[in-house]
């Protein structure tokens, strides 16, 4: 069952191509990580899914609907948390924000909202325009999670959070996201989402380079520490004690996926990565890759 289905979706701002022939499917119950460098179109992709932008070409279907129609049945099942918080920085508190907006979401859970506020230590009655950026972001995240929607889109949610809050954010996401919710988190700070996201989608200028689960990635790629750089290494970086290398997994066994190394390896070997994971997509029913 696909919650989101994109087929050959293209988008451009004026004459500038942003997304080109993107095909992708998202399934419920998973926390997708949308990775990519700045300006590759992560936010645009989220906005297309949220119905805030209309594709120039191709199709995007969410819950079987065209998101740009912005019907109540669609809007009540989706929540988009933008990176910038201008939308929420008002002369009222996050509790008030929840009071006036929560009733529009049929599954809004005020107890959950309060529990997350408490865990994040957010001052729920303080005016949002007087809270710090981090506190405001935590309040916004608390509301987003409390809506209990089927599709949760978060654009760079860890931006502006301090290190302890980033750890707390990962824990809260795991704890409070409903089992059937499909969560799509975009970030260019891959370390922030380590141990949280699975599957991984890597977006490059105009294309999806990878859309695969961690299991599939570790089947196809090997991440290991070596004293010297092996010739077959796709990517390597010096770390204390040697080199962290990414190689194609030719019976090298299982290894823990290092997101940052994976991302860098993908950026350096785009075509090979697409070949590896396109073939993989054809073999399994897991999230698909282009071409569909």
């Amino acid at each position: 069952m696909n919650m989101v289905k994109m087929q050959l979706l293209s988008f451009r701002y004026g004459k500038k191509d942003v997304l080109n022939d993107i095909s992708m499917r998202l399934e419920p119950g998973k926390i997708y990580g949308l990775l990519g460098e700045n300006g590759v179109g992560k936010t645009t992709l989220l906005k297309v899914i949220a119905g805030l932008q209309k594709p120039w070409n191709g199709s995007c279907s969410v819950f079987g609907e065209n998101p740009f129609n912005r019907t109540p049945s669609f809007l009540s099942r989706i929540y988009y948390l933008p990176e910038e918080l201008e939308y929420i920085q008002n002369d009222y508190s996050i509790r008030f924000f929840a009071k006036i907006n929560g009733p529009f979401y049929p599954n809004f859970d005020n107890e959950k909202f309060e529990a997350i506020l408490k865990e994040f230590a957010v001052e729920g009655d303080k005016k949002l325009n007087s809270l710090s950026h981090g506190q405001t972001k935590k309040g916004a995240i608390a509301f987003a999670l409390a809506t209990n929607v089927d599709l949760l889109l978060m654009d760079e949610p860890s931006n502006g959070l301090d290190i302890p809050s980033k750890t707390l954010f990962r824990r809260i996401i795991v704890e409070y996201v409903s089992d059937n919710t499909c969560t799509l988190i975009s970030t260019h700070q891959v370390r922030d989402l380590e141990n949280l996201i699975d599957p991984i989608i890597i977006l490059d200028n105009k294309a999806v380079l990878m859309n695969a689960s961690l299991e599939e990635i570790s089947e196809k790629l090997y991440f290991g520490l070596h004293s010297t750089i092996p010739t077959q290494a796709l990517y390597s970086e010096p770390v204390p004690g040697g080199y962290l290398c990414v190689m194609e997994n030719d019976d090298l066994g299982e290894s823990k996926v290092n997101l940052e190394a994976l991302f860098n390896a993908t950026m350096q070997h785009k075509k090979r990565m697409q070949e590896l994971f396109v073939a993989n997509a054809a073999e399994t029913s897991a999230p698909s890759l282009r071409p569909e």
Partner: protein, 272 residues
Amino acid sequence: MQHFKNRLTMNNNTFQFKRTGKLIGRTFQQNATTMRNTALVLAAIPIFFLLLGTLTSGEGASLGVRGEILTILVGVFFVISPFFFYKLYNHPKKGLPEVMLPASVLEKFVAMQVTCIIVLPLMAILFFGGVDALLTALFPNLQSGYAIAYFFNDKVTEEAFLIMFLTLQAVFFCNLLFVRGKVFKTIASFVVVNMLLSIVLVSLIMFMESLGFFDEISDDVHINLNEYDLFGFFGEENPLVVSGFLFKLFMTVVLPIIFMIGSYRLMKTKRY
């Protein structure tokens, strides 16, 4: 009636009274502080005029003055209400809570219209008119007559309402059309459109005159558009009267509808 109601609630994605009501309630809650402050200022104006009048001339302002102030307030509030309540609706970042709120565009549009047409003008009537009436009742020797009665008896006409409604719809449309500098751009648009319309009309009349169109018309013809009901019968009249009537019909009925459809389309197709 029940069948009609069922049809309206059956298709949840198009229109539901309940959701529309919730939207209106949300607008009240969201603007509660500003509305309270506005109400206080409105209530203070008649008191200020009474005090000023008493201190300077020994009695409050005349009924005419107070009635005209109420009329201006209602008119201004009627026209500025889209900016007052929905200035951020189409803002690329600040407008997100509105556009992503689970309700249909039609419900949002209706809720916005209802709020703009009723709430702010009603506030002016209730708070200015109410306090004015209270002061008249309490201090009959200082001021006489009720501004609210003056307003309803002398100022509320079909003609005035239609002109105000047209202006409101034009402002409503401009509020959704312009993203930044809305107030300035709206005023500038009004000025430009009025100038263009005046130039076109004057040019047209001059052109018609050059063709000798007015030669056969007596100088004594008295044209009074208000003699005709909006949808009233008009028969074999002077072509100028008919043209004038059609122009009036266009301005008071067709144009507001065009603005409303335009506003709805802007809401429906706005990209963020």
